[in-house]
Symmetry: C2
Amino acid sequence: MTQHTSRHYEQELETLKEKILLLGGKVEEMIASAMKSLLSRDPGLARRVIASDREVDSGELEIDHLCLSLLALRQPAASDLRFIATALKIVTDLERIGDLAVNIAERSIELSEEPPLKPYIDIPRMASAATGMVKEALDAFVKREPRLAIEVLQADSAVDQLNVQLFRELLTYMIEEPKNVSRALRITFIAKYLERVADHATNIAQMVIFMCEGRDVRHPGLRIADAAPEK
Amino acid sequence: MTQHTSRHYEQELETLKEKILLLGGKVEEMIASAMKSLLSRDPGLARRVIASDREVDSGELEIDHLCLSLLALRQPAASDLRFIATALKIVTDLERIGDLAVNIAERSIELSEEPPLKPYIDIPRMASAATGMVKEALDAFVKREPRLAIEVLQADSAVDQLNVQLFRELLTYMIEEPKNVSRALRITFIAKYLERVADHATNIAQMVIFMCEGRDVRHPGLRIADAAPEK
């Protein structure tokens, strides 16, 4: 590789990082706006979140395309190869977080058509914890820093905990009063969507650790050596 | 590439296909067993489904490893590169279908501890439609056959339809009788898991079409040309 192409290659890797951070920022913002539309009962904002999903889709496509072209033209070895393969996987998680923001916005529109059931307390906490995890997982990815990724894994149980707590509370609402059922169900679904955002962040973090260490934290106890072809 | 290494390379691509089909068969079987445990109220079978998730995890790891080694050592060009990049993404979907089978098995154990709420009619239909979609999407992938993938996309709305229908029915159960709420909710969740299995099949099918045609059916209206870097 000449010095010139090598500099160009480095630039393309930088572009890949930037695009992934941009897409991550975009989906975090979509979750935040969907939550804002829920709290302020603003269906117009929810509809803007739904419309903005198209930008995420084109961002995903762009990144896939850049990864394929890096793989085809630069033939990266070892750690860069892992980085690009991980980028290909991460971008799918980001796109699905965008879809979850759309799902939250849809439930927010439905809920804005009925009287409020109860003040939202745990849901905004779940949202900020989950988007914080996404941010940190992407940070771990671009810095190739497994310690940051491990912190993301540790944060996941707090989100699960909030979800369980909220689920119990909403179950009580549903059992006490049949006319609460449909609203409480919609809020339950929003909590599930946020739990899945946190799960995507966890998946990204696990892939980052695997990328950095060649060790599979996705499935503790497994090593690459365990994954030998069947005898 | 010598004739010898070229033959070896072809064999490795065949192995990749076989491993993906095997993993696909494994997760389809997990969904089927989780459903069987639900219908026959067999928590022992559900626990075996949960335990078998470890095999899916090691299968995923194996396939990732094989893809990385094909990318590093064989430097595939054009269509094989797309094929391997798609394999990297597909395997993540398969692993998550395995997780959804585990989720169904967990709800099945909980439901086996309470008296039956109602006979299951739509849920087994959803399960067989969703796993059929997974099978067909993987078939489209290994055969590199976009027409098969398009059929998968068309099947998705039937599963969504069943889910909406079931959701309405369960909502009625919950509203009529508070003591039904927790069981009806668990069944609602199982329907959602199956809907997500179908969504994963849809994702796989979309990636296959993109792989074969370089056209993005994931996001209709978008072309690779649209995904040019920002000005």
